[in-house]
Assembly symmetry: C2
Homo-oligomer: 151 residues x 2
């Protein structure tokens, strides 16, 4: 098993960060415009991505945990085969004027090349989350930062 | 043991990417201005970082492998305790008009919080490498992208 890890510090309140991770509007403003579903424990969220005007796939998540201002945990129930049954967590804490986000996308079966790509891509999306909360503007798909030939 | 993985695709030749990873001038233009030493197998490179005008630490690397246009492997011989004896590799290959960089910072003893930070920070530095080669301008320290309270 292998995990993708990240950490960003955001000059914003824990409540605001939590809201951006747990509302359709928040998620659509930093990860992907095409976010559907409801963020409640046991419920599901569907994230779809497009490039050059065409849908290129996405992820369906089941919400396993929601601890306000503290922790979010999703399980991937549909999407690319390498993602199925992996889990994604966001752990929040305060340090001086920063809300710290500890991110983990865990339980990849193998450290495949796609995992390398997703690790870099997650970093750019977490910077999009940071930018959304600090400046009011994120870079969600389809306006996301391109990191190579896999978008 | 735990590894940081990344993948970027750069619209540049393998030779240019290799040069940016193996010359003092190249490394200084995307990772840190304060790069000293010589990139030859068995030799060493010293990378130092600063913030707000003061040095905040750095890394000493021993060069273990240099395969032109293919692979670079360093071992960390001095720096933060979590980094000592970890290895850093850059694997290069061509895909259509992109030079693909598969990055690995391997053999962390524990997935400590600092590893989360370094993973995100490596992503921003690899995007700096991409930017340097595609547009002529990187974002090396001290002009690097700040990702939180740990810089």
């Amino acid at each position: 098993m292998a995990d993708i890890l990240h950490r960003v510090g955001i000059k914003s309140s824990l409540d605001e960060v939590y809201k951006a991770l747990t509302t359709r509007e928040g998620l659509a403003a930093w990860w992907t415009h095409d976010t559907q579903g409801e963020s409640k424990v046991g419920g599901g969220l569907k994230f779809r991505f497009s490039a050059d005007g065409s849908e290129i796939g996405g992820f369906d998540m089941k919400i396993l945990e929601l601890q306000p201002a503290k922790r979010v945990l999703w399980q991937v129930v549909d999407g690319p085969v390498d993602w199925i049954d992996t889990k994604i967590s966001f752990q929040l804490k305060q340090e001086s004027e920063y809300s710290i986000v500890l991110f983990k996308h865990q339980d990849w079966k193998e450290p495949v090349e796609f995992m390398h790509h997703c690790s870099t891509k997650w970093a750019t999306f977490l910077m999009s989350l940071k930018s959304l909360l600090e400046s009011g503007e994120g870079a969600p798909n389809p306006n996301d930062i391109k990191i190579g030939n896999w978008h």
